[in-house]
Subunit: 228 residues, 2 copies
């Protein structure tokens, strides 16, 4: 599909339109593992916080990812899938991404959360629209609320206001994050053809999808004073 109208993604539950179970389990497994890792990374980044107030804010946000994990794992179990088995195929790509993009300080950690979570959310939102309910609703529901992004954006803007040179360093860092994310995404797409087929089978225009993701990313970078 080349637009986001829900009509392109039926949710009336007619069997002919239901995406294949294997692809749904693949997708939920990927998202569940993403939440588990997001929790872990955010908890670790909280340790980089310059004070206890900021550390508490990030810790609370991390905890919310676990609530989402629980819901996704619950849905997998409901579908008769083993959450652990459904997550396993994504462990290597996600671990590699994070090993390649270990933040060196509080601002790099925030940039990573600000840039990475938003791209992941945008992509997830697009994929959710090709699913039927209740999976579509569940997935739209576990997307990050804007609180984390707003917090990160405020911190980044404040840091850049104090020292404009920070913007260059963080812009380069963000480009590295995006590059690494793309490279790991392509690897997953190659290894899990059911996910790519899920999108392709629904008539997804990949070029238009990529353009939407890129446009939104560029706008977000500009909003905090970073350049793409």
């Amino acid at each position: 599909m080349s637009d986001l109208t829900p009509a392109a993604a039926p949710n009336d539950g007619t069997p002919v339109d239901e995406p294949p179970m294997e692809a749904v389990v693949d997708l939920l497994g990927m998202l569940a593992y993403g939440e588990l890792v997001a929790f872990d990374r955010m908890a670790a980044d909280a340790r980089l916080a310059p004070d206890l107030r900021r550390r508490a804010v990030l810790s609370e946000m991390a905890a919310r990812e676990i609530t989402n994990y629980r819901r996704l794992a619950g849905r997998l179990a409901e579908l008769g899938a083993d959450p652990e088995a459904a997550m396993a195929p994504y462990v290597r790509a996600v671990s590699d991404y994070h090993e390649q993009t270990e933040p060196n300080d509080w601002l790099e950690g925030l940039t990573k959360a600000y840039v990475g979570d938003a791209i992941a959310d945008d992509f997830t939102r697009e994929v959710a629209l090709v699913l039927a309910s209740p999976d579509r609703d569940l997935i739209l529901d576990v997307l990050h609320d804007s609180e984390h992004a707003d917090f990160a954006a405020d911190e980044l803007r404040a840091a850049i206001a104090i020292d404009p040179k920070v913007a260059n360093r963080l812009s380069m860092w963000a480009r590295r994050l995006v590059g690494e994310a793309i490279s790991q995404s392509l690897r997953v797409a190659g290894e899990r053809p059911s996910l790519a087929a899920l999108l392709a089978g629904r008539g997804t225009d990949f070029q238009a999808l990529l353009k939407r993701l890129t446009t939104a990313h560029t706008a977000r970078m500009g909003a905090v004073g970073l350049n793409n």
Copy 2:
């Protein structure tokens, strides 16, 4: 006091029996920081888990500590105290404790949680009894539920059943944990006399308190096949 009867700790709100505000803020600050750190350490220990299922269980338990943190910080704010300022005096002792007792593997992490959380809970329960409501109720409410202890105990017993030599190594490790905890507790008691005064002022029999803590600890060690 030499027993745990609630009569020794009035909760009828009469001013003459209310513990001094400074001591209550000190205590809530200590507990709040303890929760923030417990979250952090448990989240880090989850990374040592041998599989995704265990990692998820520990991550979910970590997230619960943050809910408790939120409640304690909320109460501090209600009392007109700044949560950050109330937590600050405990940062060094708690950090030093954890730096001195960094687990090397999954079982050491579980032993630390099993041994350390329980002693902290026992101590906290005793202190709560000298407070008035609502602080007393709040503190009793944020104590760890037994789920984490049960999970850790099951894992430890299973590991010792497979390889009995593990028991010696973990027993020594537990002794080191207790020694380091005592040394940091004495430091805090010396630096925060209001806490010690809170207990002393209520007629706490320190020797009896220490005996109760030790007896419970020894029983817990034995329950999973460790020796004290």
